[in-house]
């Protein structure tokens, strides 16, 4: 066993670090640190910089314009990105649709869509969830009826993240009602400028509007936008859901959150001493840090196994649960740390305006982040679903 990176891996890390030092705009780092939402232009700027360097598609093979990195390189890259405070790479085209097209798409689809993803020509969003479906994804009802060279789509998707910026959406739609609910689902690419597509924002409890409802009324979609075979969409969606996700634990986010929390806890005063010296606060902080030290290694074990070609099983689910629980605890502790300044509704934190913060600068986004990150244990396969996966793999019942 050896917990250190190899010399090549270290060299790669240094290369990534140097790139980020030079190319990551300070303005974006500042914005992220202040907890402000990145707008469309921010994302596009960073996307273009990464694409220029050829480091945009960390999980794509070289033949499609990806980096061809192994799991450890991807981990190093993601780790350094988070450390540097870079905006995340918007995942819908790169991490989600790309692998599906590479595996199941036609040559024409690959040739047309993949370069556009890299070039930033399309902003993709995801149309999976529906109102009333939740974790029971297979019960979806949005319908696509074949009429000549088109599918006519009717229905509603929800929880579509950043759908307000998107011009394209990949959707699961029902093309047949026969057989089990999982059968009869197809995977369709829909141009959001088609007549009949309507996007409505969903305001979340923190005041943010990052998710949307997408409505389809007699939306005509060319049949060449069907990915793979009709009625096999469930297979493709599952491939995507179980596709190796190195960053499921969110170790980088947790590390950044913990560092921010410590900075705040050193600045906040409690009874004449820094809050970080309050033993009860320190105990909760230490428990998080200890757990995070172990989770980082659990994560590396999974990454390392993936790099050696092993398929991750229930470990992904374990990392999802532990990672989200830890990040939520960090959010809760940060809220505790700022004391009464958790109470002001700091609109700038969620709306990107430019008012001066109420209380200390660092307090601005804290409550909104706590509230917003309740989503971590709900989306991406709720923690209940993940526990069921673990139990199934363990008990084989």
């Amino acid at each position: 066993m050896n917990l250190d990176y190899t010399d090549e891996q270290k060299a790669f890390r240094d290369e990534v670090r140097a790139f980020l030092d030079e190319k990551l705009p300070a303005r974006l780092v500042e914005k992220g640190r202040a907890g402000r939402a990145f707008d469309k232009a921010d994302h596009e700027e960073w996307h273009a910089i990464l694409n220029e360097r050829g480091w945009l598609a960390g999980n794509w093979p070289v033949e499609f314009g990806g980096t061809g990195w192994d799991a450890i390189q991807r981990h190093i890259f993601e780790d350094e990105m988070t450390r540097a405070g870079a905006p995340r790479i918007v995942p819908f085209g790169l991490a989600m649709l790309g692998p599906v097209l590479q595996k199941f798409g036609s040559k024409e689809q690959q040739d047309y869509w993949l370069p556009r993803i890299l070039a930033g020509d399309d902003w993709w969003c995801q149309g999976y969830s529906e109102p009333g479906a939740g974790s029971d994804l297979a019960s979806l009802r949005t319908e696509a009826v074949r009429e000549g060279d088109h599918y006519v789509v009717n229905g509603q998707k929800t929880w579509t993240t950043l759908g307000q910026y998107a011009n394209m959406i990949f959707c699961l739609v029902r093309t047949s009602r026969e057989g089990k609910p999982q059968e009869g689902i197809s995977f369709l690419l829909i141009d959001m400028d088609t007549p009949g597509v309507e996007v409505r924002p969903i305001v979340l409890l923190d005041g943010s509007a990052e998710v949307n409802e997408v409505w389809f009324s007699d939306v005509r979609v060319p049949v060449e936008n069907l990915v793979g075979e009709e009625n096999k969409g469930w297979t493709y969606a599952k491939y995507l859901l179980t596709h190796e996700r190195t960053n499921i634990a969110g170790v980088g986010f947790a590390n950044a959150g913990l560092a921010n929390l410590k900075r705040i806890a050193r600045a906040e005063q409690d009874g004449g001493r820094p809050l970080i010296r309050n033993p009860h606060f320190a105990a909760r902080l230490a428990r998080v840090e200890i757990d995070l030290m172990a989770m980082a290694t659990t994560n590396l074990r999974v990454v390392s196994a993936a790099a050696a070609g092993q398929a991750p099983g229930a470990e992904s689910s374990m990392l999802k649960i532990k990672g989200t629980v830890l990040r939520q605890e960090i959010n809760a502790l940060t809220r505790t740390a700022i004391g009464p300044y958790a109470m002001p509704f700091q609109s700038e934190a969620v709306e990107g305006t430019n008012e001066e913060a109420i209380g200390p600068d660092y307090a601005g986004p804290v409550t909104a982040q706590y509230l917003n990150n309740r989503k971590l244990s709900i989306y991406g396969g709720s923690n209940e679903v993940q526990r069921a996966i673990i139990a199934k793999s363990l008990l084989e019942l």
Partner: protein, 368 residues
């Protein structure tokens, strides 16, 4: 031993519940949220008319209640309705301090509903310490000059008068040497803002302010502040209990009606067991409120204050997090009622001391 409400309390509870159910609909609450004051004057007038404000004060202060159980009944109902009105600030804190120092005339206005108050005590660095006051007051001729900063002064944007604490002697964390000043709101430099979960507050800058008169004895306000804060803690604990009850109702309904994988999700054993644990903590919260209400005028008051606030802070986090989780995505949307209730319940931990503060204080008081 008797855990039933008195007939008077029961009547107040029934009346208030009816009033809020009739008048406090979603539109009213949204209007309160969007108002710069953080509340709707018509609702306030109705509360006053019904005697809800008077119920917080004993007869010798012009009210007709004032026991711990009166406070508990009123605020549990406000909590149930998710009401955002500043009754803690104008009534329990402001009114309580007026009553302590015999300001009968202004208190009459409070009880009638015509006067709004705020208590400017917390400061940017004081966190939850009641005795940590850096703002100073010095005599200048007949009057006083106030200097310092006051933080998150709830209801300041709506207040007619603000009661400002300031140090007239002693060191920064001494109990002795803290005085109160009654300052007309118009004289103050405030930066107003809305609060998460409803209501409004302000930062107050006191830059050699020459306004306001001394309220109570010079340097001897600490005990009154502690008493008012203890009663306000009871109020917010009872409000939290009411919020938990409504959230429990919403969540139970959701578990019974929402179907997934072909059955109501309440059939899933995991959600059943977790809901049972939530219920147990709500019953513990109820008992903590009862214990505090029954001891609010007793020798062991502060220990019960800390026990209740700690327990309710922990229970609130469980109730909020589990209810959102059990709802899934819908529980995170602003449109659904849970969002408001959950935010308001979350903020309870940030007033009058959080779970950590009261854990520490409980330990210190238990060792004494």
């Amino acid at each position: 031993m008797n855990f039933d409400l008195s007939d008077e309390s029961r009547m107040l509870q029934d009346g208030l519940r009816r009033l809020l159910s009739d008048r406090y609909d979603r539109a009213t609450r949204d209007a309160a949220r969007d108002a710069p004051t953080g509340f709707v004057p018509e609702v306030w007038a109705a509360l006053a008319e019904m005697g809800v404000i008077g119920a917080l004060f004993p007869e010798d202060a012009g009210g007709f209640g004032g026991t711990g159980f009166d406070i508990a009944v009123v605020f549990e109902e406000l909590g149930r309705a998710g009401a955002v009105d500043p009754l803690i600030d104008t009534g329990v804190l402001g009114g309580g301090l007026l009553a302590a120092f015999g300001q009968g005339d202004m208190l009459e206005g409070v009880i009638e509903g015509s006067v709004q108050l705020a208590f400017a005590h917390g400061e940017p660095g004081s966190r939850y310490d009641l005795s940590r006051v850096e703002t100073t007051a010095r005599r200048d001729g007949d009057g006083w000059v106030l200097s310092g900063r006051k933080a998150v002064v709830v209801n300041a944007p709506a207040a007619d008068h603000v009661i400002v604490s300031a140090r007239t002697s002693g060191e920064v964390a001494d109990r002795d040497g803290i005085s109160l000043f009654l300052v007309p709101a118009g004289a103050l430099d405030i930066r107003a803002y809305p609060l998460v979960g409803g209501g409004a507050a302000a930062e107050i800058a006191l830059d050699d302010l020459r306004a306001g008169e001394l309220l109570g004895p010079e340097g001897g306000a600490f005990d009154a502040i502690a008493t008012a804060s203890a009663r306000a803690t009871l109020a917010i604990c009872a409000e939290a209990l009411g919020l938990m009850e409504t959230i429990r109702g919403l969540t139970t309904d959701y578990l019974r009606t929402r179907k997934q994988f072909g059955q109501p999700i309440g059939k899933f054993q995991v959600l059943q067991h977790r809901m049972a644990d939530v219920l147990i903590e709500i019953e513990q919260a109820r008992s903590a409120v009862i214990n505090l209400a029954g001891n609010i005028d007793g020798d062991d008051r502060d220990r019960h204050v800390s026990a209740a606030k700690n327990l309710i802070g922990n229970a609130a986090r469980l109730v909020v997090e589990e209810s959102i989780q059990m709802h899934g995505g819908i529980g995170m949307t602003e449109e659904y009622d849970l969002a408001h209730l959950a935010k308001r319940l979350t903020m309870v931990d940030h007033r009058f001391g959080d779970t950590l503060h009261h854990l520490d204080r409980f330990i210190a008081l238990s060792a004494a």
